[in-house]
């Protein structure tokens, strides 16, 4: 099937035998006229082609990364054909509703998409001068996101999760519910799975099916049993297709990448095989630049009405947010949604951590003219209040809840209500932004009026509830 993708003339130059096979790498000697990053077809003893790319080339040798694994290859019988171009993907709108493998080849039994439009999967950097600043609020229907960490069209907002946390359910819900306030345009969805289990992929496919989104979804699946190096190309292939939909066809595309930790592990594998000097935790020193070349392919550009919004899921090894993968991701993306194990164990869904989650573009997409004028101040006050709740809880752990003063006890009640009523919601509950904001004021009104330092008097006047709610709540406790 591969030849359909690299339909360039066979230049007849075929090299037989390799000097070295080492992990995912193959070294072919005495090559001529080979370019850096050129696509190579490696034929195994049975004559089946495997795709690879050139990582390093000199007059003496070419180092090739075999994306489909080196199992079964031998120094003697291996044949390599250099295809004269870098890795390119045929792109077309017809790819919606289809399933592809991690290298962009059909995996649903259908024919390859007909397209003469071949795109370099590495893409090109967007000229910062040609970007349009993202500022259209996307309503996800989740209070924790809409109210406090709002997503805007063209943003890259990853989800930092841990093993066993419901990141799949949360992201599926986002995909299901995401819409813009004013227009009812639907997002096209590009889904890229890297090294995740079949079950996870099935879960997403079923979800897209149930919500009727399958016809506007394009899937690139490089699952856990596929050769790990293949993952290195999967997000790039997916984003190349997404760029076509967004910037050539003018669609709004939501790209879901899962799981970026697996991607980074493959990168480490290749780096180690090449004998590179490792950075932190054995990950290559260029991990930041490499991740940036993926995450930065989101946004809006001048001269096109489309947009790419990215939600990348990554699992933090041992829930460690300072691990290189989440750490470097956080430095590139425009915020992060962090899932919290403690909230999850207490049965709160979505377990979105109140404090470490952040949306950097929120300030430009909410408030007057976007959502509601009280939104920014309300969010800020909720953050401040919840931060204080954390302090009070730490104190209560030491001296006992009974010893707290009256104000601190009210904060505890506020914290409880914030988690149970504001954060917590049903997996199929789609809250409008108004509902979310009103709910925010409901819980905020459990605090005394003069505790609301971050909200102007006028807003308090307008929205603060008479203290009936907190009293009732206190009694039920």
């Amino acid at each position: 099937m591969a030849e359909l993708h690299f339909s360039v003339q066979d230049r007849g130059l075929q090299y037989v035998g390799a000097a070295r096979i080492d992990g995912p790498l193959v070294v072919v000697e005495r090559v001529r006229d080979v370019g850096f990053d050129e696509v190579v077809e490696i034929l195994d003893p049975e004559g089946r082609p495997r795709v690879g790319r050139v990582l390093d080339v000199s007059e003496e040798q070419a180092v090739i990364q075999v994306l489909e694994g080196t199992t079964g290859l031998s120094n003697e019988s291996l044949r390599a054909r250099f295809l004269g171009e870098s890795f390119r993907l045929p792109v077309s709108r017809q790819m919606l509703g289809r399933v592809f493998d991690g290298l962009g080849r059909p995996a649903d039994g259908g024919p390859p998409p007909l397209s003469a439009d071949l795109r370099d999967v590495n893409g090109r950097p967007i000229n910062p001068n040609a970007r349009r600043y993202p500022r259209e609020f996307i309503q996800t229907g989740l209070s924790a996101i809409d109210g406090m960490n709002a997503l805007v069209r063209g943003q890259k907002l990853p989800m930092f999760s841990g093993n066993g946390l419901p990141h799949d359910r949360v992201s599926a819900q986002i995909v299901r519910q995401a819409c813009l306030l004013e227009e009812q345009t639907e997002f096209s969805i590009v889904f890229a799975a890297m090294g995740v289990k079949h079950e996870v992929a099935d879960f997403f496919i079923r979800n897209f099916e149930d919500s009727g989104a399958l016809a506007r979804t394009m899937m690139f699946l490089c699952l856990a049993d596929a050769p790990s190096v293949e993952r290195l190309l999967t997000p790039r292939v997916a984003l190349t297709a997404a760029e076509h939909l967004a910037f050539d066809c003018g669609q709004h595309v939501l790209v879901l990448l899962t799981d970026m930790t697996n991607y980074c592990e493959s990168l480490r594998e290749v780096g180690t095989a090449r004998g590179e000097i490792p950075g932190r935790k054995g990950y290559p020193g260029y991990l930041y630049s490499d991740l940036a070349s993926i995450y930065e392919r989101a946004g809006r550009i001048e001269g096109s009405s489309g947009s790419i919004t990215q939600v990348a899921i990554l699992t933090m090894p041992a829930d460690d947010i300072s691990h290189p993968v989440p750490d470097l991701t956080g430095y590139i993306t425009e915020g992060q949604i962090v899932l919290d194990r403690e909230l999850f164990q207490r049965g709160i869904y979505p377990p979105i951590a109140g404090l470490p989650s952040l949306s950097r573009l929120m300030k430009d997409g909410v408030g007057k003219g976007f959502t509601r004028d009280d939104h920014p101040a309300l969010a800020s006050q909720l953050f401040a209040g919840y931060a204080y709740v954390k302090k009070v809880r730490a104190l209560a752990d030491v001296i006992g809840e009974e010893e707290l003063n009256a104000l601190d006890k009210r904060y505890l009640q506020f914290g409880e209500a914030f988690e149970r009523r504001f954060l917590n919601q049903g997996e199929y509950e789609n809250r409008s932004i108004e509902t979310t904001l009103e709910l925010g004021w409901d819980v905020l009104s459990m605090l005394p009026r003069d505790e609301l330092h971050r909200v102007s008097d006028a807003l308090v006047e307008q929205h603060y509830r008479t203290p009936v709610a907190p009293a009732a709540d206190a009694q039920t406790k």
Binding site: F36, R131, S289, D327
Partner: protein, 598 residues
């Protein structure tokens, strides 16, 4: 030799990402610019072994092949200097991004070559020298109004000294028109508005001075607590999400420097876009003109080639030095120096250099020192006072300040604004931690501040001491709760809270509060400390703290920063008076009650 037979002259023999090796390069010089391959990718020679040179290429090398030709230019990487820099946005090697966009659309294509400055534009030039004058390098030769805000001085280029032989009449000229001829011992030299300077070399000055003037940034926690000096060097370290970029943007917007150079080095594309969209609309608080009229942007975002990221820092600082040499105060903001250090690491690894700490090259400390040393308060060659202030953001992995880039940076800067994750989580911005941060310039600039407010040092010390005492008390509170503390100590907790919310926290997005003029900073601090001093007296006299807390004025004190703008100081003074009146009334009342009880 191994050189490919296809092309005579230097050819490529090996490609590994941005690092290319070429043979036939015996005549190449270190840091010489070369053009690689048919597309003419720009690169720089970084190592020479025999006739082989290692080249760091500033563009994507995909499909470059061994045997491709290499063309030497004979010159080191240099920037163009002249009118037209202000308001422009460049990539790391000074290619104008709007120009590139015009040529190749929204995506940056390889091998694009666009002049950094417009050679056809005519500028109105006015000479300040006459025929027969004796001139030397660095002197001002003529002037051009570059923008409403910037009067550009055309300087005599380096190594030129002699007698003015002819001068152009005032009028409109392009960058390449000859404006004067100088008779020098080495022959006649023609002077134009356009000059060049190698980016890795610092421009000469006459003398360095001790920093003595503050760089007013309008940010209270910076100006009042941890002030920056004109010509100083500082760093903003912080984990992700702590607000480094917003703080840098705030400084770039409101600093009272005459020229701002903002280097977006390996950061987000959308952040540069936001600067690009916002700066032309924002008004300079002093002149009322758009901020873009004094700003130069260098944008080499994280997904642009890594070698160009390495050089973007030097490009930026060289442009800054050029305006300094015209007698101006320039501030350079680099966001982020960690990404630059990572570029060094990435390139060093590809060059197979022996790594030092955490894979960074052993030269990291030297390179950082060289960069920060290019700042300073100086006398220019023309004899004028001027300065370059440098503020670098640092992005330590995991927010851990013990990593090499933060540690080495600390050695070469004197102002350290530590951003704190916990403060950021509570959305206290700017999240500059008052106990971990420091400024060695506080003493240098005290004289300036005391001219505005004689009690400045006193107020500052008192407020900082309060915050320190609060931190110690908080340790007790964490163990036993606040209620066991005596009122005198709870007063400190109460005032510290007001200091934090009503003074230190400052919203970058609040119309009135985004820029806080020095007089207002002092007035606000004095207001809060009045409450403290008088409150302390009352509490000592036995008045319960609750009654101080419940004074009707207290919420107004807390919100004063956003209620009264920079031009509403009289209203702030009124509030101050009201607070004093209420305190007086409380004192009288409790004295009366005391008598009744007695």
């Amino acid at each position: 030799m191994n050189a490919s037979p296809k092309a005579a002259g230097p050819t490529v023999v090996r490609i590994s990402g941005p690092i290319v090796t070429a043979a036939g390069m015996r005549s190449a010089a270190m840091y010489e610019v070369v053009h690689v391959g048919a597309a003419g990718l720009v690169g720089e020679v970084v190592r020479i072994v025999g006739d082989r040179a290692t080249i760091q290429v500033y563009e994507d090398t995909t499909m470059l092949k061994p045997g491709a030709p290499v063309r030497c230019t004979g010159a080191p990487l240099s920037v163009w200097l002249g009118p037209g820099l202000i308001g422009n946005i460049y990539d790391g090697i000074q290619r104008p991004l709007p120009g590139i966009q015009k040529r190749s659309g929204a995506w940056i294509q390889r091998g694009e070559k666009v002049d950094p400055l417009d050679l056809t534009k005519r500028w109105t030039f006015a000479p300040v020298m006459r025929c027969g004058d004796t001139v030397r390098a660095g002197q001002v030769f003529g002037e051009v109004q570059e923008t409403e805000l910037v009067r550009h001085r055309v300087l005599i280029p380096s190594q030129v000294a002699g007698k003015v032989k002819s001068v152009a009449a005032p009028g409109d000229y392009t960058l390449r028109d000859t404006l004067a001829v100088i008779e020098t011992p080495g022959g006649d030299r023609e002077i134009t508005m356009l000059q060049r300077w190698p980016v890795r070399e610092s421009r000469p000055i006459r003398e360095r001075w001790r920093v003595s003037l503050p760089l007013i940034t309008g940010q209270r926690v910076i100006d009042t607590f941890f002030p920056m000096g004109k010509g100083g060097a500082g760093a903003i370290p912080g984990g992700f999400g702590t607000g480094k970029t917003i703080t840098q943007h705030q400084l770039a917007k409101w600093s009272d420097a005459e020229i701002i150079v903002f280097i977006g080095c390996g950061e987000r594309g959308n952040e540069m876009t936001s600067v690009l969209r916002e700066f032309p609309e924002l008004k300079d608080p002093r002149s009322g003109r758009p901020l873009m009229e004094r700003t130069i942007l260098i944008a080499n975002t994280s997904n642009m080639p890594v070698a160009a990221r390495e050089v973007s820092i030097y490009t930026g600082i060289t442009l800054a030095e050029y305006y300094r040499d015209q007698g101006l105060n320039v501030a350079v903001f680099a966001d982020s120096t960690s990404r630059w250090a990572e570029a060094l690491r990435e390139l060093a690894a590809r060059l197979e250099e022996m790594p030092a700490e955490e894979g960074f090259p052993a030269t990291l400390a030297t390179r950082l020192a060289q960069f920060y040393e290019r700042g300073g308060a100086v006398t220019t060659l023309a004899g004028q006072p001027a300065s370059v202030t440098i503020v670098g953001a640092v992005s330590p992995p995991g927010g851990d300040f013990s990593e090499p880039v933060t540690q080495h940076t600390r050695r070469f800067i004197r102002c350290f604004w530590a951003l704190d994750t916990e403060l950021a989580n509570a959305r206290h911005y700017p999240a500059i931690h008052w106990l971990q941060s420091y400024s060695e310039y506080a003493e240098n600039v005290a004289a300036w501040w005391e001219k505005q407010a004689p009690d400045w040092s006193e107020l500052r010390t008192e407020a900082l001491t309060l915050l320190q005492r609060e931190e110690r008390l908080q340790q007790v509170v964490r163990l036993v709760g606040p209620d066991v503390l005596p009122d005198s100590q709870r007063l400190i907790l109460f005032i510290a809270e007001i200091l934090k919310d009503g003074f230190l926290a400052q919203s970058a997005f609040h119309e009135k509060d985004t820029f806080c003029a020095p007089e207002r900073q002092v007035a606000l601090l004095r207001l809060i400390l009045t409450l403290y001093r008088r409150g302390r007296d009352l509490v000592e006299a036995g008045v319960p703290l609750g009654r101080v807390r419940e004074l009707p004025c207290v919420p107004a004190v807390l919100h004063a920063k956003e209620t009264f703008g920079n031009d509403e100081l009289p209203l702030l003074a009124e509030l101050d008076q009201r607070l004093r009146d209420e305190l007086d009334a409380l004192a009288k009342q409790s004295a009366r009650e005391g008598r009744q009880d007695g």
